[in-house]
Every structure is written in C-alpha cells, then in structure tokens.
Symmetry: C2
C-alpha cells in the first residue's frame, strides 16, 4: 500500500469555450469535473499501474463531498481524507477551443484550524503503519504552518516509511530540513530553492540542504537524478507534443512505484520519464496514454551523469 | 406574495484576480458565492423592498444543495425549488483587479427530463393560487422545450395571476404568443425579436406579437414603456457609472412591486429606474445602494411619450 497526501485537495473543473475573450461573456460548451490536487493525481496513476493506494489530506464543504463521491468511483484508490469545516477549493481550467490554450484559475483553499491540523497529524501517523511509501504533494491550504511538511516528513522517517516530497517555495525549503528520502523539483522550483539555474550544481546544493535523493524534472530534457548510488540522466527519445498538465505527477507515480517494487534507479527513472511523456501525449489532461507508455518504456536512454 | 421562476438557477461564483492573462495560471485572491439566476436576483430585491417572495425553478446536485443552503439565509425569500437529477449550473465571474473588468463564464445547466418538467408544471400550478404576481426569468436549461415559457404564461393567465416574462431569443418569441402581461426586453433582445433597432417601432411590434405591456430597458436612456394606458419614458437624472450586473433584474423587481401595490405606471417606472441606477452604483454586483435608491426615487423624470 502506498499513501499519498494532498493537503490542498481540489475539485478540478474544466470548461471548454469557443474562444476566451477577457471582459467577454462566454457560454461554456462542455464542463468536466474530477478530484484533483497533486497527490490525488499521483494516486490515480499508481492505481492504473496496479498499485493499491490510499489518499489522505483535507476535504470539506459541498466541493469536498463532490470530491469524495467521485473518488469512490476511481478503482484502486481508497479515500482516507480528513474532514474540515472549510470548503475544498475548486480549480477552473478554461480551454480555448480555437487556440487550444488553457487558462488556469486556482482558488486558495479552506482555512484549516490548528485543531484540524492536529487531528490530521494523528490520523496520518495511524495510516503510516503498514505503508510501503508515502508521497507529500502540492501546496499548503491557508492556516497551515509553513513547516507542515517538515512535521509529516519526520513522522514518516520515525515510522521507517520512505517519503517523497513534491512541493515548492518555502514549504519545500522547510520540508527539506526534515531530510525526506526524495524530492522532485522542476527547474524553476530547484532554482528558487538553491538560487542556481545550473541543474548539476543545484541538485548538489539541494542534497546538502537535506534531501537524500534529488530528482530534477527538466521538461523536455527529462530527469536528472542525484542519488546516494550515483547520478543519472533519463530523457524521452524525442520531443513529445501535447498538454503537460499532470506530467510531473505521473513522474512521481513512476518513481514511487519503482521504489516499492525495489527497481534499480535506472529502471525507476525510465518508468518516470515514460509515464510523464505518455501523460503529455494523452488527449485528456492528467491521464496517460497506456500504449504510448508501454512503447516508450523500452526507448528511454538512461545514462550515468 | 410574489412568485419568481428561475428555470436555470445558478451558483454565482465571483473570483478576484490581480490581472487576467489568457493562457496564464492565476491564484484567485478572493472567492464569493451566492444563489443566482435572474428570478432569484429579482426575489432578493423584492425582499429588500419588504415584499414576501417565493422562488421556484430547478435545483440539483452539490451546487443545487449549496444554492438552497444559502437561500435559507436570505431574509424574506421562501425556497420552493423543485429537485432535478442534474446539477445546478455554476456561473464564474472573473474580476480583474487591475482593470476592473469582469470576464463571465456560464455553464449551460442541467439536462432536465420530460418527467422533471411535468413535475415542475404541477408544482407551479399549485403555487399560483394565492400569488399576487409571477415573474418568469432567464434562460432555459438544456432539455426543456423552447415553448416552456408559453406553457407557464398560459397557466398564470388561467389562474388570473399577472405574469411578467423576462427572457430572450426563441424562448421570448414563443412565450409572447401566450400573451404575457409584461415583457421587459433590453435593446438587443427587442431588436432580435422584432428586427427593428428603433424602440418606438419595436415596442409597438412586440405588443402586436402578444405582450399587453412592453417595457424596453435602454441602458443609460432608462425605460420606454408602451402600456394599454399610454406610453412613457423614464430615465435617471444623470448618467450613472458602475457595474451594470443585475440592473435589469432590479428593474423587474421595481415593476413587479409597483404592480402588486397598484401604483400608477409613472410611479412604477420611476421605481424601476431608481432601483436599476442604484444597482449600477452599488459596489457589490447585483445589490442596490439603498440610500442612492431613496434619493434617486424623487429625481426620475417620467414623461408621456
């Protein structure tokens, strides 16, 4: 069993409009909804790979009910969300059918009280027993201390559960100090953390700050992994075109599944890159194209760096 | 008691963003929600004027639950919405804090089945007994016959309840044939109905098509009323600047309240124009500024046309 934590879960709403014009009035031609937030996206991909996965984090209000109702329909995903009084946020992705561009509007999320945060920590510690790995994903909702991820990383380490942290900004900086097993920053997040735009130097610096392994996701250039066992680069065989939404979450799912299956690092990285590329290629944002994934998996060059 | 019908009710969501950039990702700085749809907006203004008002129409899904929960907090408004299986639509107004402009995204609404429409008609006919006036407001949700308003107008006339119809396009054209007491098209709706952009001619044509009274709302020029008792123009004393959202709904509330109070036409028109202008002046979209309303009420010139 893998546990994913999404402290700021979301009801992800996608609107298709013929053409988005600021200051205009638009009839939305198609509305789709699904549970979202990075950890839930990771869980969906893990379940598709055949892993049993539990999702936790907060849910509340009518939007939280909607998230839970829809999660119950996702095969292989167990809902262990913890209730809060505030309402789960919505994210709205407006797809312009003319240009294909997406405009994103993200609500901040519910104000979580100190008592709710304490109740979550208790529930989380109970969940850690018997878990093979845990992923801590995404932004923090309002009200949570900026060191929230450090607390969750420490609890995982105390329970001997490998922990992957995928967040950004101050939440990442503070979480790092608690020494997570893996972080997976993208180029911008890594530069913000370390002040360096040079991935070789920045990953080294990020390890010094506390991460056991740093996997930098460098867009079309794939992954750069700095691990205790060595350094590797893994990249798709050719540039893939499509919608990058969720590609990072698919990479996290690839890394986590490889970890619990005890794959060697090059195999984990190849899986993460293939899943990520297959997500970009999928017509539905956040889903991955299984045929493309299986085909790509044998074609990812992984080289020692 | 006044009854307002909103077949396509909505959960109106307002997002404030620092600056709306197509293809960008935005953190929403403020989220507000309230029950919407034209008939619900009309009811809110009627209640603020001291009238008892019942709202009906359809509600369904988590968004419908949210609408009903919030309606329960609106003083003076009784909820008589009829349940449907589909979810009540959302509308999203994105306010750009830099320019002040609003970009509107409107979901289409739930697919209403024939059985749900039949159940609504039964409930509506029961509600008509003991009602002083009824307003039929806004667009039709998917699934309803385009002649839906004609059916509701006929039922009101059969029950001897004065009926105001405020809709547009084919729904207005078909509703007119059932001879509503009042229609309140704006200049565009009137031109679409009659083919004429000349209000004097167009209001005459609209009466020929079946409306007993036509009140054309002409933006800054106020109202042009063609009634069985004569023709009047009523306009604000000076141009008002602000957000016109809901100004038309406030005008409908003014006309309806004047009708049930048996005011002479000039007083009804002055009230409608003053409410409409006080809505444009209000900082909150759709609310009216009561002090401005009371001050304006004595200043609206109403002239025979």
């Amino acid at each position: 069993m893998i546990l994913t934590v999404t402290l700021n879960t979301a009801l992800d709403i996608t609107y298709r409009v013929p053409s988005l014009r600021p200051h205009g009035s638009h009839r939305v031609s198609e509305v789709t909804e699904r549970p979202g937030g990075k950890g839930i996206n990771v869980a969906r991909v893990l379940a598709a790979l055949g892993h049993r996965v539990t999702v936790t984090g907060f849910s509340g209000g009518a939007t939280g009910d909607e998230v839970r109702t829809r999660l119950a329909d996702e095969p292989g995903v167990t809902d262990a969300l913890v209730p809060v009084a505030g309402a789960t946020r919505r994210t709205v992705a407006v797809v312009d059918e003319h240009t294909g561009d997406t405009t994103q509007l993200n609500e901040p999320g519910p104000l979580v009280t100190a008592a709710e945060w304490a109740a979550f920590q208790d529930a989380y510690e109970d969940m850690l027993s018997g878990v093979a790995a845990v992923a801590l994903c995404g932004s923090l909702p309002p009200g949570l201390p900026v060191g929230a991820y450090a607390v969750l990383v420490r609890a995982a380490r105390a329970a001997d559960v490998p922990v992957l942290l995928d967040t950004s900004g101050e939440a990442l900086r503070r979480g790092l100090a608690a020494r997570p097993d893996i972080i997976k920053p993208n180029a911008d997040e890594l530069a913000e953390l370390t002040g360096s735009h040079e991935p070789l130097r920045a990953t080294q610096d990020a390890r010094r700050r506390g991460a056991r392994t740093v996997i930098a996701s460098l867009g079309a250039e794939g992954l750069l992994a700095r691990t205790p066992d060595g350094m590797w680069r893994a990249a798709p065989p050719a540039r893939v075109h499509g919608n990058p939404t969720g590609a990072g979450d698919s990479a996290v799912a690839g890394l986590l599944s490889g970890l619990v299956e005890n794959l060697p690092w090059p195999d984990r990285l190849a899986r993460a890159v293939a899943l990520s590329a297959a997500t970009v290629l999928s017509p539905t944002a956040g889903d991955f194209d299984r045929a493309a994934y299986e085909k790509l998996l044998a074609q990812i060059p992984v080289t020692a760096a």
